[in-house]
Point group: C2
Chain length 344, copies 2
DNA sequence: CTGTTAGCGCATTCAA
DNA sequence: TTGAATGCGCTAACAG
């Protein structure tokens, strides 16, 4: 603070430009002056102010990931860590930093407007959210993650509806009718409007589709239980515990996130219910840690890491001014041992 | 891009100053002009450029967390997610964003010099690392995490040596002599010099201390096995698998991170070795997910979340120009069921 | 190879 | 209540 390019120029007996070149374009000045400038800079402890440099360059070398919730709650889902790893993997290699942005006072648009970044990755956004216009307004490149693609923006996701249907098929094929669905808690509370990413609807749609295919009666559908569960271990555990204690507990649980399933595993063990004999479980994600579960969890495998990677790659293309299209990532069901035939 | 404060001033028939006031100091202008300006701004889709604003304000509302490794490898340890949550919890509430910075081309000092942030949290730094001078040079507030405190800077950590000794006591008291130590892989590869945070040495010191107290002979100490294990599930699993397959496998494992223990649990299960009968395990961390392990893992409990919180709180104090001291967080051993008496 | 000059977009002191 | 002028620290086109 205080010591600027001007000071160095003065001490070195050159102009600011020359000093600037020394730092950004050494080839354009003589090795001699380069050395002199750098020596002085080192002595005085000078280095170009990154902010001023950014203002001049119009490049922050920084991308933002904006979350639908606060960092402390959202990162309780290990899924996010994986996503961040994917994002980081390409940022690292491009020399970019990644800024984690949460809604400022619950206002995502403000966050977007204030972010000093070259591009943004955003989650939990519906296709007609106002954020889209905000992005246009700032002419800020952005890629959505897990949004329902409308063609108006670039998104990275999986075939949620289709996969959800298949997952539901498994439960139904095994005779389960009393099923509990752990939905991801709606994020509306932190946004101005009830804003939902659309994966929730897509997956529910898949579920109903499966039910229809299996000719479930209206009465049978009434046995479905829907609960909004935050995607955190402790919340899921609490909910699971109280749910499984009940006499009329479900025979199967359909989780929207692995971390919810973890909670059920733990609660089941606590209550000496065995999986899958007493309780069948399926879920979405198949995080790396999920492989440590016994018995193995039958779930939709998707790579959050790859999702982050892909989204970031696309974002960089956009930042580079190239056109790009939404991507639908591979995902499939991994059959393991958490589902059993219901014998009644 | 393109549309600036000047354009708005022009359209509204006022000066740039007035427009600036409208956005930052509405009280200083008449409600009338305020409305007019804002309406125009909304129509045209204008909002102040965050970067120019930052240059003027000298405040980025952004702090950085600099990692000793790339994001994609470092975040494989769930410990980091917890830490980030803690950091985020106070940033969220202060309206700050957090930037995840990894060493640019392996040079941490460059990363520090180039970061557009108001303060920095940094991990994996030894007490006489050159980064300290770099920070002084930029007069950038910073707090180290898990560094060995020398009094010259502000650090947040736990009593690694003491806790490590106690943990080792448990193993030794239970008769274990053939012990494998999973060290955290040195981070030196990504830094110019072999730079180690010091917790590694502290913990090793605690271990030797315990051995000494237990009067282990030199020969017995020779049975100790040290392996550098990246703090990732897959690496730990691989290492565990090959290690446990051996005839002369250790009777106990001392992990420096929960995630390493996860790998051993999984490998043990795969090989039908039961914990703790066939293999005792202890570790550091006690992450939230660790509670899902069966049998329960005996380990040093520390809260990465609180660590992140505390470090960030201190950082904010420093940013505010206040003086502050290093903090030593509470940590203790959580006794569960992963250690058994060795019967030979 | 080096210097002059003009921004980058906004905040803010000072004067009106 | 509003405006003119200046500065934040750096980059880069243009000249020499």
């Amino acid at each position: 603070m205080g010591i600027t390019i001007k000071d160095i120029a003065l001490k070195a007996g050159v102009s600011k430009t020359t000093v600037s070149f020394a730092f950004n374009n050494p080839d354009r000045i003589s090795a001699d002056t380069y050395e002199r400038i750098m020596t002085i800079a080192r002595e005085i402890g000078y280095s170009p102010d990154p902010i001023a440099r950014i203002l001049s360059n119009k490049k922050t070398k920084n991308i933002g990931i904006v979350l639908p919730q606060t960092i402390s709650v959202f990162f309780q889902n290990p899924y996010l860590g994986e996503l961040l790893r994917g994002i980081g993997s390409v940022c690292d290699q491009e020399g970019f930093a990644v800024s984690v942005l949460s809604p400022f006072k619950g206002i995502v648009t403000q966050t977007i407007l204030n972010a000093a970044v070259d591009g943004i990755l955003i989650m939990g956004i519906s296709k007609d959210s106002e954020v889209h216009t905000t992005f246009k307004q700032r002419t800020m490149p952005y890629v959505t993650i897990d949004a329902v693609d409308s063609g108006d923006f670039v998104n990275v996701g999986i075939k949620d509806e289709e996969l959800s249907e298949k997952l539901m098929d498994i439960l139904l094929d095994n005779g389960h009718r009393k099923i509990c669905f752990c939905l991801l808690q709606s994020i509306s509370s932190t946004l101005q409007k009830a804003d939902t990413s659309g994966t929730r609807e897509a997956r529910l749609h898949g579920i109903f589709q499966s039910a229809k295919q299996h000719c479930l009666s209206e009465d049978e559908m009434k046995d479905f239980l829907y609960i909004n569960t935050p995607a955190t271990l402790s919340d899921s555990y609490d909910i699971a515990l109280s749910l499984l204690k009940k006499k009329d507990r479900p025979s199967a649980v359909f989780c929207m996130a692995d971390v919810q399933a973890y909670g059920f595993y733990r609660a089941a063990r606590e209550l000496s219910l065995s999986i899958p004999e007493d309780l069948s479980i399926v879920s979405f994600d198949d995080l790396p840690l999920t492989e440590t579960l016994t018995p193995g969890l039958t779930c939709v495998h998707q790579s959050a890491y790859e999702k982050g990677r892909m989204a970031t790659k696309l974002l960089f293309k956009m930042i580079a001014g190239q056109h790009c299209e939404s991507a639908v990532l591979d995902a499939h069901i991994t059959h393991r041992h958490s589902v059993a035939k219901l014998n009644k």
